[in-house]
C-alpha cells in the first residue's frame, strides 16, 4: 500500500540484469578462440576511436581531455539518481486520516480546515485489537494511496486461529471507526504470520 515505484523497479532490474548477463556471457565466450580474436579486433578499433576523441577534446596546454571531467560529473549524477531511487522505496506513510476544507463563502458555514490525524485511527484500532487474546500483535499505519489517505491494519494471529474470524471482526472494528470519523477511507487488513508465530508453530507450510 506504499508508493514504491514498482514499474521503475522492474525496468531498472531488467536493464541491469540484461547488462550483467551480456558482460558475463561475453567473458565466458572469450574461451572460444574465434570470439577472442573478434573481441581483440573490436576492442582495438574502439580504443583507437576513443583515443582520437580524447585527443580532439584536449585543450591546448592541457595534459588530458576535458571529457574526464564530464565523465566524473556523469558518474556523480548516476550516484545521486541511485540514492533517489533507494529513497523512493517504501515511501507513502502519512499522518492524515481525513481532512475537510470550507472557505465559508456561502455564508452558512465558517471558513476553516479540519484535519483528523492518523494517530486517531491508529490508537483506536490498536487498543481494540490488542485486547483480543487470539492476536499476538497488531500494527496500524496511515498511508497515502492514490492521493487519498488509507489505513493498513496488520494483525499477527496466534497459530491455528481462523483467518476468516479475524477478518470479520477487524472489519467490524473498521466499520465502527467509519462511524466515529464520519467518512470512509480505504483499508487494508493484512493477516500475517509474524516472526513469533513462525518460531512457535507446529505445522510446516509453504
Amino acid at each position: 500500500m506504499n508508493q514504491t515505484p514498482r514499474m521503475l523497479n522492474r525496468v531498472m532490474l531488467g536493464l541491469l540484469g540484461v547488462l550483467l548477463m551480456a558482460v558475463g556471457g561475453l567473458a565466458v565466450l572469450q574461451v572460444v578462440p574465434a570470439v577472442a580474436r573478434w573481441w581483440h579486433a573490436v576492442a582495438a578499433d574502439l580504443g583507437r576511436s576513443i583515443d582520437g576523441l580524447l585527443e580532439r577534446t584536449t585543450l591546448s596546454g592541457q595534459q588530458d581531455s576535458w571529457l574526464w571531467i564530464v565523465v566524473a560529473l556523469l558518474m556523480l549524477l548516476i550516484v545521486i539518481l541511485m540514492a533517489v531511487w533507494i529513497a523512493a522505496q517504501g515511501r507513502g506513510r502519512s499522518g492524515t486520516l481525513a481532512q475537510d476544507y470550507t472557505d465559508g463563502e456561502d455564508g452558512e458555514e465558517a471558513a476553516g480546515r479540519i484535519i483528523v490525524n492518523g494517530s486517531v485511527a491508529e490508537q483506536a484500532l490498536k487498543s481494540a485489537l490488542l485486547e483480543r487474546s487470539d492476536l499476538v500483535n497488531a500494527t496500524v499505519t496511515t498511508f497515502e494511496f492514490g492521493g487519498e489517505p488509507a489505513l493498513k491494519v496488520k494483525v499477527f494471529p496466534r497459530p491455528g486461529v481462523s483467518p476468516h474470524e479475524v477478518a470479520t471482526e477487524v472489519t467490524e472494528l473498521v466499520e465502527a471507526l467509519d462511524l466515529m470519523v464520519g467518512r470512509q477511507t480505504p483499508v487494508l487488513i493484512s493477516i500475517s504470520a509474524g516472526a513469533r508465530a513462525r518460531f512457535t508453530r507446529v505445522e510446516r507450510v509453504r
Binding site: R10, L20, Q30, I86, Q89, G160, S162, P163, A167
Partner: protein, 195 residues
C-alpha cells in the same frame, strides 16, 4: 465515494499479492553506485592529472581489450558465469510475476490479504481435531491452487480421510479465499507409535 473506495481496494489487493521488488532494487542501486563512485574517482584523478588510485582508465581498457591473454580460461569462465548468474537473478526478478504466498478474502468494505502460513496453520488445526491426532502428525502445505494435507496416523487407529477432507474444505469455504484451492489429503502408510 464508495465506488472510488472499491476501486482503490482492488488496486491495494493486487499490489499486496505481488512483490514490490524493493530489496533487489536496493541491491542493484548499491551495486551501480559503488561502480560509478569508483569510475568517478578514477576519472577525477585523470582529469586533474594525478596518478591513478588502483588502475588507470588506459590500463583498464587495455586489460579488458585483450581479456583472453590476461586471464587463464578457468577463472575467466568462472567469473563470467558468476556475473551471468547475478544478471539472470536480477532479470528474473524483473520479469517473473513475483507472486507472494498470500491469498485474498473478498470483502465489500476492506481489502483483506492472508499469508498462506496463517491459512495453513488454521487448516492444520481443524484437520488435527478431525483426525484425532496430535499437531506433530499433521502437515499442511498451502499453494495458490492446491492445499495438501498430510496425516501420519497413530498406529492402530484409522484416520477418516473423507472427514478430514470435508472439514478442511469447510474451513476453506468459510474463509472464502480467492481462488479457492483444491484439497488433497494424504495419509501416510506407516503410523506413529505412542502418541
Amino acid at each position: 465515494m464508495s465506488e472510488r473506495i472499491t476501486q482503490l481496494t482492488q488496486r491495494v489487493v493486487r499490489r499486496e499479492l505481488h512483490s514490490s521488488r524493493a530489496a533487489p532494487s536496493i541491491a542493484a542501486a548499491v551495486l551501480i553506485s559503488a561502480f560509478c563512485l569508483y569510475v568517478m574517482f578514477e576519472a577525477a584523478l585523470k582529469a586533474t592529472g594525478q596518478d591513478p588510485w588502483l588502475v588507470g582508465p588506459d590500463q583498464a581498457a587495455g586489460w579488458v581489450g585483450s581479456l583472453s591473454d590476461n586471464v587463464a580460461a578457468a577463472p575467466l569462465v568462472g567469473a563470467g558465469l558468476l556475473v551471468f548468474i547475478i544478471g539472470l537473478l536480477f532479470f528474473l526478478n524483473a520479469v517473473l510475476p513475483g507472486r507472494r504466498a498470500r491469498h485474498t478474502i473478498p470483502n465489500p468494505r476492506t481489502a483483506i490479504v492472508v499469508d498462506s502460513e496463517v491459512l495453513a496453520s488454521a487448516l492444520a488445526r481443524r484437520a488435527r481435531v478431525a483426525a484425532g491426532v496430535t499437531g506433530d502428525q499433521v502437515m499442511v502445505t498451502v499453494g495458490r491452487r492446491a492445499v495438501e494435507v498430510q496425516v501420519r496416523p497413530t498406529s492402530g487407529v484409522p484416520v477418516d480421510v473423507e472427514g478430514v477432507r470435508s472439514v478442511v474444505e469447510d474451513e476453506l469455504r468459510q474463509t472464502s479465499v480467492e481462488p479457492l484451492p483444491a484439497v488433497r489429503v494424504a495419509v501416510a502408510p506407516s503410523g506413529v507409535i505412542g502418541q
